[in-house]
């Protein structure tokens, strides 16, 4: 059980009011939230410091134009926040940010994290062709019922971590009567303090409702289906080549991945360019060679670099010009690695990234 501030208004409006209160009371200096960019349906994150601008805020909008974890890292990479900022982000974005902080790519200081129980986001393609608006009512229906929302990103439909970790404030959405009331769960002391003075009813509540538990089960089932689908990828090198054969090497998948934080990816660096003589050696062996080289290397390599921390946000799939189901593959393979180390990326900032620590007595099974 935790403290809940209940407002008798729809969830969207409730959050709007929360943000307005935070800004106007001076409890935060700014708010980072999804906003309307124009009248043609473009939505992106904005940093708002003037409460009047909140009119364009769409804090709960089911879209992820960028993984906000990456944005928060950009925000605090050079210096921590000097003044408090509230951010409204999805659970996997918050998890991604925690992973980045562990990698010293940002700082948690002075952030007030607002998140929600999350029913997933739509593929970006749907936003670029202006179809999100048509889908919204169905989306909110699913949220109310606690169903998997139709047509959302594949990895959203099997994400287990839709109850946010590390949020100071969690808006309850799944299975809630979100047209009529907004339940603002104050999950940390900081969260409680931040709403002091805001109008509403302070009650006790439970975030992990039966509906939430049910959705978890539905997603577990969905995950099995998605992961075990033979069309996802066949075993072995030949399977990899079938799946990644059409990759055009744009590396968009790593640029939008919140965990891939390198300013210059190894695989774009000089180290992975071949000398002309390398081609000659390879041609001798194979009689032919794909160029540019290293398509498969890039993907397995990226798996070894970030699989341990993949939060399954789905950005990589969305950005891929040749529709490779990247996030499903990365979540599946990454998930196995995570299980090996009993690690849930982004769960706790104290827990170190497994590859940066060790125990003296462990993993003897991998030695020969």
């Amino acid at each position: 059980m935790s403290k809940v501030l209940r407002i008798s208004k729809g969830a969207e409006q409730g959050v709007q009011e929360l943000l307005k209160f935070l800004l106007e009371s001076g409890k935060v200096k700014g708010v980072l939230t999804l906003t309307k960019i124009n009248n043609n349906g473009a939505v992106d994150y904005s940093l708002i410091t003037n409460s009047e601008m909140l009119k364009d805020a769409l804090p709960l909008f089911p879209l992820m134009p960028a993984n906000a974890g990456k944005l928060l890292s950009r925000f605090t990479l050079k210096s921590a926040l000097a003044e408090p900022i509230a951010v409204v982000v999805k659970p996997c974005e918050l998890r991604a940010f925690i992973e980045l902080v562990k990698r010293e790519q940002g700082s948690l200081e002075n952030f007030l994290f607002i998140s929600s129980t999350c029913d997933g986001v739509y593929p970006l393609e749907i936003s670029s062709n202006g179809e999100v608006a048509k889908k919204l009512s169905k989306y909110w229906d699913a949220v109310k019922k606690g169903d998997i929302a139709p047509d959302i990103r594949p990895t959203c439909s099997c994400c287990k971590y839709f109850l946010p970790y590390n949020a100071d404030i969690t808006i309850a959405l799944i299975g809630e009567n979100i047209d009529k009331e907004c339940k603002i769960f104050l999950t940390t002391e900081k969260g409680k303090k931040s709403v002091e003075g805001m109008k509403g009813q302070l009650v006790e509540g439970e975030l992990k409702t039966q509906e939430v538990k049910n959705l978890l089960n539905k997603r577990e089932e969905n995950k099995k289906k998605l992961f075990d689908n033979p069309a996802l990828m066949q075993d072995g090198l030949s399977g990899l080549i079938e799946t990644f054969g059409r990759c055009i090497g744009c590396h968009g998948c790593s640029r939008v991945c919140p965990i891939c934080y390198c300013t210059l990816c190894t695989f774009d660096s000089k180290d992975y360019e071949n000398e002309p003589s390398t081609y000659e050696t390879e041609l001798k062996k194979r009689g032919g060679m794909r160029v540019p080289p290293n398509t498969i290397l890039y993907h397995i390599g990226r798996l070894t670099h970030i699989g341990i921390s993949c939060v399954g946000c789905g950005m990589c799939t969305d950005v891929c010009p040749v529709d490779i189901p990247l996030s499903t593959i990365f979540l599946k393979v990454g998930g196995e690695v995570q299980q090996t180390f009993n690690y849930i990326p982004g769960k706790s900032v104290e827990e170190k990234v497994p590859l940066t620590i060790f125990e003296k007595e462990e993993l003897t099974e991998v030695e020969d």
């Binding site: 980072l32 906003t35 960019i37 124009n38 473009a42 992106d44 994150y45 940093l47 708002i48 410091t49 003037n50 364009d56 960028a66 944005l71 950009r74 925000f75 990479l77 050079k78 210096s79 921590a80 926040l81 000097a82 003044e83 900022i85 970006l124 936003s127 670029s128 062709n129 030949s238 080549i241 079938e242 799946t243 054969g245 059409r246 055009i248 090497g249 744009c250 968009g252 640029r255 939008v256 300013t263 210059l264 774009d268 660096s269 360019e273 071949n274 000398e275 002309p276 003589s277 009689g287 032919g288 060679m289 794909r290 160029v291 540019p292 950005v319 891929c320 010009p321 040749v322 529709d323």
Partner: protein, 370 residues
């Protein structure tokens, strides 16, 4: 204008491949750089082919452009010239990008024989991937009917797709060819001697082909103007540009697939673009709101200043954009205009210097303030 005539056996593609095989047999080149169908059968990848057997699955004119050919060639010769002789068979915009990259010292053309081919255009990557079998059928039609509208918008307005508007070593004419023949037209000594060695010296008149391609280019030029001016109205000017790029998610796919943007690390992804948290906040406070990440438009305008003089209008950027932004069309408008200022056509001639690398003492006084 003289060229050689090849009788089409089976198909245009197969005829070209047979020709390439002969070149390999006679050691006129050691390897061929050509798109080959990937094992899944749904796409094509550039393959350096030494073993002739691999040419069975090759396609000199695939329905889509996956990796821009100049990028493939650059990955081979960026670090130095190839010791093997490579015959690279590419679409005209890929050849032109290769010429630009050689001026930018990202391709070493020594030992490379550039073979261009009349290009009917390429299908939009998205359309093709929706149903690749259907895509292949559509493309068959495209090769038959020049000017078919299922190709990418950027291809529909391309005025350098056919004929001899580009500088390759050997050009393959398939436009307006009578049903049963294609033409091989050498434009350099390299090309000429290849034909001679194969035993098909360039002796036939190509006047008819040349005339037809010129006519086609004229209609394309008109088309280009028309499409560009309609688009200009919608996208040019600060407000329109902001609107156009409002959906941009800063993935920089457009930059990373662009053959001309060769930087390993783009300036717009470098440390220089990263501000301190205070600076972001100050920028937000000046208007009360700051789109985050900021500087989307700076990226696009900046990219234009870096590369639009060499933009060959290949469309790779547009194909790679996950948000379906008309990047290539916009860049081609800007490219055309900036290129005109210097009377420069990218990829036209290897001898012509990049306009920003040379100057005259007495020029452009019109841009100076009195």
């Amino acid at each position: 204008m003289k060229g050689a005539i090849l009788k089409i056996e089976n198909s245009i593609e197969k005829t070209i491949i047979e020709f390439l095989k002969k070149g390999l047999d006679k050691k006129l080149f050691d390897v061929v750089l050509i798109p080959v169908k990937v094992p899944a059968g749904d796409s094509y990848a550039w393959v350096l082919v030494q073993d002739k057997a691999l040419l069975e699955d090759a396609n000199p004119l695939p329905p889509v452009m996956l990796v821009q050919g100049a990028k493939a060639l650059s990955s081979i010769t960026r670090r130095g010239k190839s010791n093997k002789k490579i015959a690279a068979i590419m679409r005209p915009c890929e050849i032109r990008a290769s010429i630009e990259l050689s001026k930018l010292q990202q391709i070493d053309l020594e030992n490379i024989c550039l073979i261009s081919i009349d290009c009917p255009g390429a299908l939009p990557l998205k359309d093709y991937l929706e149903d690749t079998k259907k895509g292949i059928d559509t493309f068959k039609k495209v090769i038959k009917e020049w000017g078919n509208e299922s190709v990418r918008p950027i291809c529909q307005m391309c005025d350098k797709s056919v004929g001899l508007s580009i500088q390759s070593d050997l050009h393959i004419g398939i436009f307006g060819a009578k049903n049963n023949e294609i033409y091989l037209i050498p434009s350099s000594q390299k090309g000429k001697s290849i034909l001679e060695e194969i035993g098909i010296p360039a002796e036939e008149s190509m006047d008819n082909w040349e005339k037809k391609t010129k006519e086609f280019v004229e209609t394309r030029k008109k088309n280009r103007k028309k499409i560009q001016s309609t688009l200009s109205e919608k996208v040019m000017g600060l407000d329109n540009l902001l609107e156009t790029f409002s959906n941009c998610i800063n993935c920089h796919n457009c930059q990373s697939v662009c053959p001309i943007c060769y930087c390993r690390q783009c300036y717009f992804e470098s440390e220089k673009m990263k501000l301190s948290s205070d600076d972001y906040l100050i920028r937000a406070e000046s208007k009360g709101i700051l789109r985050f990440l900021p500087d989307t438009l700076l990226f696009h305008l900046g990219r234009m200043t870096h590369m639009s003089l060499s933009c060959v209008g290949c469309g790779a950027c547009e194909d790679a954009c996950p948000m379906s932004i008309k990047v290539a069309q916009i860049f081609s408008i800007v490219g055309d205009r900036s290129q005109k200022v210097f009377n420069y056509i990218p990829g036209k001639s290897i001898e012509e210097s990049l306009p920003l690398k040379v100057y005259e003492e007495d020029e452009f006084h019109d841009v100076e303030k009195p």
